[in-house]
Amino acid sequence: MNGPQELLRRVLGPPGEDAGCERSIEVLDEYVEHELAGRPAATLYPDVASHLAACPDCREDRDALADLVRGRNLG
């Protein structure tokens, strides 16, 4: 890991188109199902993938949704 590059990425976020929160939330369910099915969600929705890398709240929500869907039959 290159420290300065890691810091730059944290500060600047990833390069490329960013879908923003609204658009990312709109398709988050589809994105997560693609991911869990082993399909290339980041290729299908590159702007959403960039956003999830840059927005901590949306990323946390993605992780939470994926966790729920994985354990769909909750006790």
């Binding site: 590059q5 600047l12 369910d29 949704l65």
Partner: protein
């Protein structure tokens, strides 16, 4: 008043018709949810009750999953937070059901809304008694990346200095406040939106604009982000 009484069946947008028009094949479970929630008979109230039960379980699951990251005083409030989040999410799901396109399973789509509700509530709870720092950046917090060599350590110090100067020189006061809170002090965007009477999308847009300006400024000083490096998992 029950959630079912709060939200009656929908009018103009017939989600099942939309599905048929778009020739989207719904899985049987998703179709069952839609049929129940769109029913104008007793099936509707049962469907809403089932939806609430589903989303309540989901909210409780998420609240428990994040329990360790919450302050101890929040533990007693988790059940209330889960119930409130589930009720609010049911209202949102019923209001938006005409927009469901069948691109994911219905339960995945519905879970999305309860996650937003419970996440936002948990973030608020987590930060309820904490000060949101925007005007006193502790720049050294940025140094917590892992330098692999002594040279990296020196470069990180120089880069933090460049970031500090660019933030002061190139950002508007609002962009500066939001950047410092989110990037330097790890304040959740939802919490910042609450404190600034704004929305997650609006706060993120300001952060995105700030980052774009910083990228140009830092590139001009020789600090370019190389694609494919520095990926943060």
């Amino acid at each position: 008043m029950s959630v079912a009484e709060l939200v009656r069946p929908f009018e103009p947008c017939d989600a099942l018709t939309v599905m048929a028009d778009a020739a989207v094949a719904l899985d049987p479970e998703s179709r069952g949810w839609l049929e129940a929630l769109r029913s104008d008979g007793p099936g509707h109230d049962q469907g809403v009750a089932d939806l609430y039960a589903l989303l309540h379980r989901a909210a409780r699951h998420e609240a428990q999953r994040r329990r360790a990251s919450l302050p101890a005083r929040a533990a007693d409030d988790l059940d209330d937070i889960a119930r409130q989040a589930a009720g609010d999410a049911v209202v949102v799901v019923l209001r938006k059901i005409g927009t469901y396109r069948g691109a994911s399973r219905f339960t995945t789509w519905a879970y999305k809304f309860v996650i937003f509700e419970v996440s936002a509530a948990l973030r608020r709870e987590s930060w309820r008694d904490r000060t949101v720092t925007m005007d006193d950046p502790e720049w050294e917090r940025l140094a917590d990346v892992t330098p692999s060599t002594p040279l990296d350590r020196v470069e990180i110090r120089e880069l933090i200095g460049a970031i500090e100067r660019s933030v002061a020189a190139d950002l508007t006061p609002r962009q500066r406040d939001i950047f410092v809170a989110v990037v330097v002090h790890d304040v959740p965007i939802d919490v910042l939106a609450d404190r600034l009477d704004s929305t997650r999308g609006a706060i993120y847009k300001a952060l995105h604009d700030a980052r774009r300006k910083l990228r140009s400024s830092l590139e001009a000083q020789g600090w370019a982000l190389r694609v494919g490096e520095g990926e943060v998992s």
